[in-house]
């Protein structure tokens, strides 16, 4: 398994190199969005209206951080389960989104949208939320403040440790990893 250091925005030639199981240390900007924010983004696309965040080359992190204590950039901020965003993700990928960060497997619709748009899905370690917060150096709410923990935040990340869970060629770390240890 290879190790890469990547900086956002992600480029197609970088994404094509990534294989399921590779380790990636990610630096740059990522946007947070969960269920409620995804619904609003897709509703805007349906209405032909502009989005509050750029999608081209960007990475969305599925997270609803805990409140920020004084003196910190952010509270605990581990990934939420990704399958809940499966109904919305293909629309965002078709509009330029290049990366997603979450946990757990994706459905066939997302896999196909990732192949046709050269996109990557990363897994972060679920429940390692205090550790992950150390990779986040800045956070600001940029849309949907009314959603609280589910608002869209712009995060600045430095060396965020990730695994390529699903690559743009259709390979999946969950299936391949579990097969090896099934008895």
């Amino acid at each position: 398994m290879a190790e890469y250091s990547l900086t956002t925005p992600l480029k197609d030639e970088e994404i094509r190199k990534l294989k399921a199981g590779d380790s990636v240390s990610l630096t740059g900007t990522v946007y947070t969005a969960r269920d409620a924010a995804h619904k609003r983004l897709v509703d805007l696309l349906d209405e032909g209206k502009p989005l509050p965040i750029p999608l081209e080359g960007q990475v969305i992190y599925y997270v609803g951080p805990s409140p920020t204590p004084p003196g910190r950039a952010i509270g605990s901020a581990g990934p939420t389960t990704s399958y809940r965003m499966d109904p919305y993700a293909p629309r965002l990928l078709d509009n330029g989104l290049k990366g997603m960060i979450g946990k757990g497997a994706r459905n066939e619709g997302v896999v196909e949208a990732m192949k046709r748009n050269t996109a990557v899905y990363f897994a972060a370690t679920g429940g390692a939320a205090a550790l992950i917060s150390r990779s986040i150096t800045a956070a600001e709410v940029v849309a949907y403040e009314d959603l609280g923990a589910e608002a869209i935040r712009k995060l600045t990340v430095k060396n965020f440790p990730l695994i390529v869970a699903q690559d743009c060629h259709g390979a999946n770390v969950y299936e391949e990893g579990q097969k090896k240890y099934r008895r």
Partner: protein, 282 residues
């Protein structure tokens, strides 16, 4: 036995403290089980996940940060001695006041939507989910068990046929764990409720999660079934965070109740590796 008074304000104060402590510090049984899983994991990716989980636990404990950003709905199990007289306010109000204070002062996430369909965050993580049992005696026992959504979503209830028997239970648990994969944040703890009615069975599955990891069921039949189920769950190969590995579950705990002759309810409640619980006797 004489009546013993417990002030509502004291209950609120302790619930607030336990909400914070539960979210910052894993109990010893969970911490030890995670260390053992790290040592025993064969998969490289799985070991790295376990290493991160353990490092995270240390950071959360030292810096009083939530172990997981999903600090859950506040589930509170209560055994109230019938000789206890609560003074200075209502019991449920006191528990909710504690949750409100704990989740606010501890910078814990508020994940409670006031209306399940129309939404609207309650803003303070109330109401708590309270399971109250009235028991003999004059003590008040409280378990604060914050429960996250990711693992709760992988929990299931099945109204099986009596003919399905013990093989049916095994199939139900193993198939659901395999389908859940990495979603509930393995290594998990599986609570299995067998018997009772539809709702009793689900309650038993949750209650089973409270048992100390490593403890053995008092009935040898169910002790053997727990051991067998743990082996079968680990044989799925799901592994830490679903990346593949030997350790999918830290424990399987069973709770049972008498059932109707026609019914065979089985429930499984899944807990993520951040199995948070704190206990106090007042």
């Amino acid at each position: 036995m004489t009546v013993r008074e417990v002030k509502a304000a004291r209950i609120a104060e302790e619930v607030a403290r336990l909400c914070m402590e539960a979210n910052f510090e894993l109990e010893d049984d969970v911490q030890k089980a995670l260390e053992k899983a790290h040592a025993g994991e064969e998969s490289e990716a799985g070991r790295e996940v376990m290493r991160q989980i353990l490092e995270n636990s240390g950071i959360a404990r030292a810096e009083r940060m939530p172990i997981c950003q999903d600090t859950g709905l506040a589930v509170i199990f209560v055994e109230l001695g019938q000789e206890v007289h609560i003074t200075g306010g209502g019991f449920e109000d006191a528990v909710n006041e504690g949750v409100r204070k704990g989740y606010t002062d501890g910078y814990l996430r508020k994940s409670s939507l006031a209306d399940p369909v129309r939404g609207g965050n309650t803003g303070d993580n109330t109401p708590a989910v309270i399971h109250l049992a009235l028991v003999p005696g004059d003590s008040l026992k409280l378990w604060v068990v914050p429960k996250g959504g990711g693992s709760e979503n992988m929990s299931r209830v099945a109204m099986m046929k009596p003919a399905d028997g013990v093989e049916g239970i095994k199939k139900f648990v193993v198939e659901n764990i395999r389908a859940a994969g990495g979603n509930p944040c393995p290594p998990i703890i599986v609570g299995v409720g067998i018997g009772g009615t539809f709702e009793r069975c689900a309650f038993l599955a949750k209650k089973a999660l409270l048992r100390e990891i490593g403890s053995v069921h008092h009935d040898p039949f169910y002790a053997a079934l727990e051991k067998e189920l743990l082996g079968l769950v680990n044989d799925t190969g799901v592994g830490p965070m679903g990346l593949g590995g030997r350790v999918t579950a830290l424990a399987v705990h069973i709770e049972t109740a008498p059932r109707h002759i026609a019914s065979f309810p089985v429930a499984m409640n899944v807990n993520c590796h951040a199995a948070r619980h704190k206990y106090i006797e007042l």
